[in-house]
């Protein structure tokens, strides 16, 4: 998308399609534009329940700096967020709260299962733990690890960004009636 109205630097290679950039305008379609905008401004809702929170904080803070990906702003209201990060173990007693938070989010919305517990229940194969949040809510990206390293978290975010940038439907949208149309 760079190059709207740009002029190529003198002597250097042109920064965009030559004719278009020199003319000072660019055509695109609405869907890819929206997908691009969404990809680089993912507001997140951290649903943090367990020790994975430490790695989540590490990823968010300056050393790994998730703001490089345009995803650094936590919104403490699910109504304002695009991505639900489920960070840690979810027990059956808590499942209604998670479900409700998810249902409060506006579409389009995406879900990341952060860590093995959120993805499949981890080693808590017992009476109290939900064996993966996808038993309750649709999930787009699974990040394994106990806890995952920040590099793995960043890769998970980049996978989600690729998915958003392609304009693919989220898992939630795929389940809706008339889900054939593109996102946006």
């Amino acid at each position: 998308m760079g190059g709207v109205g740009d002029r190529p630097p003198a002597g250097g290679p042109p920064s965009g399609p030559v004719g278009v950039a020199q003319a000072g305008w660019l055509t695109t379609r609405l869907d890819p534009l929206l997908a691009w905008a969404r990809r680089w401004s993912l507001f997140q809702y951290p649903f943090v329940t367990a020790c994975c929170a430490m790695e989540f904080m590490s990823t968010m803070c300056a050393h790994f700096d998730l703001s490089r990906f345009g995803a650094e702003i936590p919104r403490w209201s699910p109504r304002q967020s695009d991505v639900l990060w489920v960070v840690g173990t979810i027990v059956h007693k808590q499942a209604p709260a998670l479900r409700r938070v998810y249902e409060q989010m506006c579409e389009p919305k995406w879900v990341v299962a952060f860590g093995t517990c959120a993805a499949v229940g981890g080693f808590y194969d017992n009476y109290s733990v939900v064996q993966g949040i996808d038993k309750i809510i649709p999930c787009d990206v699974y990040i394994p690890g106990c806890p995952p390293r920040p590099e793995a978290v960043i890769e998970g975010l980049m996978l989600l960004q690729e998915k958003v940038g392609r304009g693919e439907l989220s898992r939630w949208q795929q389940r809706q009636p008339g889900a054939g149309r593109q996102a946006g």
């Binding site: 479900r99 194969d125 017992n126 009476y127 109290s128 993966g132 038993k135 309750i136």
Partner: protein, 173 residues
Amino acid sequence: MAQRIVDLVRARFPQAVLEAHAFRGDDTIVVRREDYLEVVRFLKDSPGTAMDFFVDLTCVDWPGRRPRFDVVLHLKAWRSSERLRVKVGVPEEDCTCPSLTGLWPAANWFEREAFDMYGVRFVGHPDLRRILLYDEFQGHPLRKDYPKEKRQPLVPMREDAPPQPPPFPERPH
């Protein structure tokens, strides 16, 4: 370490102490259920024992044993730093035990947890509800006969959720 206290209890309640043993300096007495409250009250209030610190209360399930459950109480004396473990057997048919909430308010949540996980009903407890699990939960999950694959979800599982992996295979004991 606390043999002195065991002797004091034995002298005061000759019938109540069924058994006493020590393991690496930690003394244990097993008392009759009908004398449990009086023994603990004596341990707390008598100046000779002064076991005034309620450390822990929990429960153990011994499947096949009679009585099936042990309620285990840990006490400590602040002055002398002596410690004592008090066990009381609770049969499955009459799964009740006197509550210690009248002696220590702190026993409230411990007894609620033992009730939640093992189903021991504490007589005299002011508010015996589940503390960790939800009210809809059926049964008591730390009993050894609770099925380990049994789940009691509050939210219906998604119909298109990925399939559940098989449980770990049963290993012979």
